[in-house]
Symmetry: C2
Subunit: 483 residues, 2 copies
């Protein structure tokens, strides 16, 4: 079977909106508040897989889940001055309770650094308590003035996982940044999402941070999307809120912090990064259902149709008993063709067709959603074969996604061609850079693109001359057209 | 060991505040917004057990989880007029985004009937789609003017599970009310929470409902607490929002709805209903950890202490491998006494002490948190014994809770003694009632209590005469001092 990828790759925006709505993932644009949508049942299940995975990775590394109030009083939010400058144009404010005006305006949390730091000042008094690693999964709110897009740029981000950690020293916090980078790398790998890790430039770090490390991926339209950030906060917030702990020498000092977050964009990525004109192809790491069993009625005999259904149920139970997450579509009002369409649109990795031939041979006709390869499998060995196949699919889909991704990351030694590539092909362009902020900012202006920063793993590994000023390059700088 | 229950039962309010804070369940009164607190790590784990259980019960009965936006535009919230009347004094309003005034005020959801009905009008056009059963677990907000109390009366209720269902007819919705009552009964039983089910009186039903069924329990201070409600909404909301579906005769009709909810109060109940002066005693159905292993160092020999620790780790691994949720306290800076205090305060059902004798005999000294009974168990049979014990504890704790509960439900044929009992002893008093609302409301006034309603299972089973007007009684009416 020849699979068309025309809509997915060349007409991605339309494809994306179609999939979110038609596959019942996220209903957007119809709820009567701009920038806010509804997670529908199937989308919620995909979201749940993503949430469970990050929970597991965080719990396994000593993070503790908490839940803070949505509302932050204005005076508290203003305590760290750089921080509030970064957010104040984007805050939704509650000003009324019933008919009364509130004494103090309350912000819908845009992020929770100050709220959490405030409570940490009550909870922790000594280095013996540290490190502490908290996280929560909540909605955050930003009154975006840019064009909103479902899951990509929302006014209510409903799947914000934010971790906040507290440490005795700057160096301990720096080690935590490394742990967080490791956790996120593992997380994206398990979901089959390719990524680059960059240290964001000074002028684009998180408001209130010492520095910011970010993960970016490339979407099918070749635009770059930030999918995770890790911030070293130093003692900026603990100083602003006057939080001190006793260190091991007995002195009262400001502890250091980190924070790191991921959002709804992860679900945008897993839905988008593998697909075709039939819909998304979900990586087994994120598919809430791995196999759908579809009985194909007999052309002539009702008795045979009945026996096919029975056999299909047996296949279904075999898979369930084997620990495979599986469903069976017994809806009599839909033709097999309707069912194929329905489940392909939901991106289920494997389809198990059961018709007269499979009944006769005690086989199952398995079809891969990613390649549309199909072949019969004996019922006896079904569970094992399915397990192997899912593993192979995970591996092959990740590999293919990385290959597509790598092809969009290019090195250029000339700013004009960098600009042309960014305009015509998108992706990421890496250029040599002298290291001066002024040159970096000028490059953003000239290329009409954004600086992603320098590679985290090899910040100083560049040869040649700065593409802007011609001085000796100190590092590689990444440029991209971003969401 | 004689266990004191003085603080728990006679000084419940103080005990409750102490437990929430000291056992790191919910930090209340220190976060700088009135009526909003912070779920701390241990509390979050208890909450997670409760949430997982209700999710399982709902998913198993065909409910689909969704997630709606927090914000509801004022005009949408006002569409059902009875409904908004019930809430308008209690709504928090967002009026500003950044520096701009919003065109339409946005409510922080007090509940989600109108938002969900609005989207259902886009999603469902025919009876073939029905029944649909949605639910979400979210924060809701009420600008309470009454005194707030942690988990009992909050301005941000953080664990609101609200289900919303859509049906072809009034009767179908009525069957759904029954299913919901069954699900909640099972839920409370698995958590060991005793309850009464009452049909609330007309003057106390949910704003916008045809009728409301409610679950109530009795707290250790003998006050009655509502822990769950189920509403038949009829076609009130679908009419108000003009939502129609094609029924099986081909006519366009208003579908009928139900909604049902539980809240943070469930966690208040599981923490409070079993306890003593050492802290709460968690029912195994809700305890996030079932066994804590505590090594007791040798008095003289470091070598023996080392071997005790090793053996304790072996015990811990045996339990983990046996599928028991278990932790081990290896903190060298705390004495065994500190550890006993710490874990008793967290209500862990079983403690496994390992000292020189247990090392020598290959045993474990098990102690029940509920009765403080203690006895040695052979390592060989540990997992089985622990499993049996947990089952016995569940059973005995539920039984004891029901006995305490039943003793607080009394029948009275005289209003004056009803009033005295309610004032002096609390609990629930059942009196004969003529069925007239005016008599019921008058009873509330005279007894300074609240009418819970009539028993759902035997609404008309009363003898004697209405305690107010003396006419022949038509049913039993329940009165209580409530939270």
């Amino acid at each position: 079977m020849k699979v068309s990828r025309e809509k997915w790759s060349s007409n991605f925006n339309e494809w994306y909106d179609w999939v979110l709505r038609e596959a019942q993932i996220y209903d957007y644009g119809r709820y009567p508040v701009k920038g806010m949508g509804v997670w529908m049942p199937y989308g919620f299940r995909i979201r749940e897989k993503v949430v469970s995975l990050i929970r597991k990775l965080l719990n396994d590394t000593g993070h503790e889940e908490v839940l803070f109030p949505l509302l932050i009083p204005e005076d508290l939010l203003r305590r760290e001055s750089e921080h509030i400058k970064g957010f104040e144009d984007e805050v939704f404010w509650v000003t009324k309770g019933g008919e009364s005006d509130l004494d103090v305006k309350l912000a819908l949390r845009p992020t929770s650094e100050v709220a959490i730091t405030y409570m940490e000042s009550l909870w922790h008094k000594t280095y013996r308590d540290l490190p502490k690693k908290y996280y929560q999964i909540v909605s955050i709110f930003r009154y975006e003035t840019k064009a909103t897009r479902p899951l990509l740029r929302l006014r209510e981000v409903t799947t914000f996982k934010e971790a906040h950690t507290l440490h005795e020293s700057f160096e301990d916090a720096e080690s935590q940044v490394k742990e967080a980078v490791g956790i996120y790398s593992k997380f994206f790998n398990e979901l089959g999402i390719p990524f680059l890790i960059s240290r964001r430039p000074e002028w684009d770090k998180f408001a209130g941070a010492v520095y910011t490390v970010a993960f970016d991926t490339v979407m099918p339209d070749n635009r770059v999307m930030q999918i995770g950030t890790v911030h070293h906060l130093g003692d900026n917030f603990t100083k602003a809120l006057d939080v001190r702990i006793q260190n091991r020498k007995g002195d009262m000092v400001y502890p250091h912090q980190t924070s790191y977050g991921i959002s709804d964009r992860i679900i945008a990525a897993v839905v988008s990064l593998n697909g075709d004109d039939h819909g998304p192809v979900l990586h087994p790491g994120v598919a809430p259902i791995h196999v759908v069993v579809i009985p194909i009625p007999s052309k002539g005999s009702e008795e045979e149709t009945r026996r096919i259904k029975e056999y299909a149920l047996r296949v279904y139970r075999t898979l369930v008993d084997g620990g495979i997450s599986c469903t069976i579509d017994l809806n009599d009002e839909r033709t097999p063709g309707d069912k194929f369409y329905y489940w392909e649109l939901r991106g289920i990795p494997l389809r198990a067709e059961i018709g007269p031939r499979e009944l006769r041979d005690s086989t199952v006709y398995l079809k891969r959603r990613d390649t549309f390869e199909a072949f019969p499998v004996k019922l006896d060995s079904l569970t094992r074969e399915v397990r192997d196949l899912l593993e192979r699919q995970s591996h092959e889909m990740s590999k293919a996604a990385w290959e597509r991704f790598n092809a969009t990351v290019r090195q250029e030694a000339d700013l004009k061609s960098a600009k042309e590539i960014l305009r015509d092909q998108g992706g990421v362009v890496e250029v040599p850079w002298c290291g001066e902020d002024s040159c970096g900012m000028k490059m953003e202006e000239l290329t009409e693109a954004r600086v992603l920063g320098v590679p985290l793993d090899k910040p100083f590994a560049s040869e040649g001359k700065c593409v802007l000023c011609g001085r000796t390059a100190k590092s590689t700088l990444r440029l991209a057209k971003t969401y």
